[in-house]
Amino acid sequence: MLSRVAESIYWAGRYIERAENTARLIRVNSYLMLDTPKGISPGWKALIPISGLNEEFKNYSNDPSERDVIKFLIGDQKNPGSILNSLKYARENFRTVREVIPRTAWQKLNTLFLYSKENVSTGLTQKGRDKYLDRIISGSQQLHGLMASVMYRDEAWHFLRIGRSIERAEMTTRIVDVRSENILTDIDESFESMSFKNIQWISILKSLSAYSIYRRRIDVRVDRSSILEFLFHDKLFPRSLAHCIASVEESVGMLANSPSPLKSLRVIENKLNKQNLEKLKLDTLHAFIDEIQLGIRRFHNALEKQYFLSPYK
């Protein structure tokens, strides 16, 4: 497989996943807002750091209101991480590698992009938002399902899977990082506050489609350390860090000349396995997540150096 093609597929995988993740975040936050009393409502501003877009938002608006945040995340032309742009970049990447991906996958992505573009004004209304986001999420899932069922398991498949899983891993770390700040600082142990915290923990689980599995397999009660354990260490949950990293490792292992990217993955895994999550306080959790995120970036660099086309090679 051409290096340039591998790179495009990797990024397409990331962008499709990013669009879906952003749609989930907005959706879950909308529900969370409905469940929380006005005074202690977490608002919309947390979605910006979760999406890793602090700088970009600063240039866009100084008002983290529902309207601005949603417009920024769904349809802003200048926000590289908006749903619209993520799908646009995914499509551009697919377009440059159209010959190696299934024709039906291209059509599906093309249709999804056209939908997101043509209906963006509906997506920005309170009434139309949920349906719009639902189409983005199910469109992305259909696309993944389609590719999983028809793609030949060659390098194209593996680079796509690496891109998707890495993006997913990053998102899981960011959701926990940003949301936990809100929940862990508050030392108010009153009944209202506790039940509000529970709602927030549940919303974390819901943003990752984890709520029902968590209740069925782990605990009916919402418990901080078992949630962290689940989201970081559970090997069977597809959005847990451990699972995402293992998928990446499996796919990288199928590629030629993989020792260096594999090594950087093992660094992440060691860190993850050694960490006792129960003992983490707000600041140590934060530092731990920073280290994991740094590890992910280092893996990306190793991958790029080994496989992608640098113009000066």
């Binding site: 497989m1 051409l2 093609v5 591998a6 590698v97 059509q107 056209l114």
Partner: protein, 484 residues
């Protein structure tokens, strides 16, 4: 309301659907019968469902505009097929094969012995002035003497029904992917007509193309590495490049994906390291393929590619330099070439062409400027042309001077009454002008598309069929003359 043809009037032109007002041609009878039974909303609905399918399939071409930069436009398509009887097509097919065979012999001769010049059939001064003659290619003998592996020849039909060759595109002809996609879409739109007509399939093309490309591999390996070299995503024909690569299972590469190593072989950069390339189907003009030899500022090409080709380490289709025969003055000599190399009479005529370099022909042109179309030798896309009947006195004067100053650079042709085909306009059908571009493959064997790409000028009276200027396209059906 049912569709009515009472207003359908091709006028003086040859119409491919109708013999005269309201009387369908034999080959189109069944189709017209279906339309007469159809409600006009139904026809419009089928047209819009085809347009939707084209958007969803992402069949597009890229146009450049000053305002938005490069934009991807959906391929304009008219669902009513153009029908050509097989008996007629067979003649066109053999005429085209003959023509391309002669053209390849001609190019090979020009870059080697130049017998055609020595024998006085082709003038040395035409060659001397040719923009597309590449001195860098002199003395090279590509495999089987083939230079123009893929040729797209444009055919038009005059008022009396004769098909003429208007021009041969020997550099990087495009459009074949749209021919293939048009068929896919038409299948969805008119399944009932496929049952009646059983048009001959067109989908052999990617297989034929791949087979031809592997046949020019210098290495004798079981699966030679064939790549399609594209200028990239912003090229107007990028859709086609990706489509053909996908259909052939070949890598779609850009210049930066390839390099020529010390052994003068071409390699591509892959995730598993460098991998040898045997055949390059290039969709980049000569000027840009190798900055070492041609344009230095080209970033689209591969430095050293010409060295690798000359050393016989890679096959290139079309061969560099093949464009020498892609010249309107050279065109005028094709009938002579056919007689010279093959000792045969041309199977499809050229549009009668006056070569201004010859005094007798020039005198005729200068005396009849108001009746003729004057074209410069090396421009394409209608650039620098004069259409006599539409030109002002001053324009004619200007061209008179231009021709006298540089007679070799001009040819003139009578204005043709190009044929029409029923085409959807709103909810009804009207005659619109068409041309036809078949694609001819030459390698060890030769092959030709079944029919080709029919381009249609969507505006009333217009002869401009280019998609960038409001032209559309149609599916082209070659159908057996004898039907059940």
């Amino acid at each position: 309301m049912r569709i009515s043809f009472s207003h359908y009037d091709p006028g003086l032109f040859y119409d491919e659907g109708f013999v005269s007002k309201n009387r369908a041609r034999h080959s189109s009878k069944e189709m017209i019968k279906l339309f007469r039974k159809m409600h006009e909303d139904e026809l419009a609905a089928r047209q819009s469902s085809a347009e939707l399918a084209i958007i969803e399939m992402g069949i597009s071409f890229t146009v450049y505009t000053d305002k938005d930069g490069n934009i991807d436009r959906s391929w304009p398509f008219d669902i009513v097929p153009r029908i050509i009887p097989k008996s007629e097509w067979d003649k066109i097919e053999s005429g085209l094969k003959q023509r391309v065979k002669a053209l390849n012999l001609f190019i090979d001769d020009l870059y080697n012995e130049q017998n055609i010049i020595k024998d006085g059939v082709f003038p040395a001064e035409v060659l001397a002035d040719s923009k597309n003659f590449r001195p860098e290619c002199v003395g090279i003998k590509p495999k089987a003497g083939i230079w123009a592996h893929i040729c797209g020849s444009d055919l038009v039909r005059d008022t009396d029904g004769t098909m003429y060759v208007l021009e041969d595109n020997l550099r990087v002809p495009s459009g074949v992917s749209y021919m293939l996609e048009n068929r896919e879409v038409t299948k969805q739109v008119f399944p009932e007509l496929f049952e009646t007509y059983a048009p001959l399939p067109v989908d052999d093309y990617p297989t034929d193309l791949h087979e031809m490309l592997t046949s020019i591999s210098p290495r004798k390996v079981k699966r030679p590495e064939v790549v399609l070299l594209t200028p990239g995503i912003y090229n107007s024909a990028y859709f086609e490049h990706a489509y053909l690569a996908h259909q052939m299972g070949a890598e779609l590469v850009e210049g930066r994906d390839l390099f020529v190593d010390k052994d003068e072989c071409v390699y591509m950069r892959t995730v598993a390291g460098a991998q040898r390339v045997d055949v390059i189907y290039r969709r980049i003009d000569d000027d840009f393929i190798d900055p070492e030899v041609f344009r230095e500022d080209s970033t689209l090409g591969v430095p050293g590619l010409m060295r690798a080709w000359k050393a016989g380490n890679v096959g290139i289709a079309n061969a560099p330099g093949a464009g020498v025969a892609d010249d309107k003055v050279v065109y005028a000599f094709v009938p002579d070439m056919i007689r010279y190399y093959l000792n045969e009479e041309p199977g499809i005529p050229n549009v009668p062409t006056y070569r201004c370099m010859y005094k007798k022909e020039r005198d005729y042109v200068l005396a009849n400027l108001e009746k003729l179309v004057v074209k410069p030798a090396n421009e394409s896309g209608g650039y620098g042309m004069m259409i006599g009947p539409a030109a002002t006195k001053t324009e004619r004067k200007t061209f008179e001077k231009l021709i006298k100053r540089n007679p070799r650079n001009y040819i003139a042709q009578p204005t043709l009454g190009i044929s029409t085909v029923p085409t959807i306009v709103g909810k009804t059908l009207e005659p619109r002008h068409v041309d036809l571009r078949p694609f001819i493959l030459s390698g060890k064997k030769s092959a030709i598309t079944t029919g080709g790409l029919t381009r249609v000028a969507m505006r009333k009276g217009s002869l401009v069929v280019n998609s960038s200027q409001g032209g559309g396209s149609k599916d082209t059906w070659i159908v057996s003359d004898v039907r059940k």
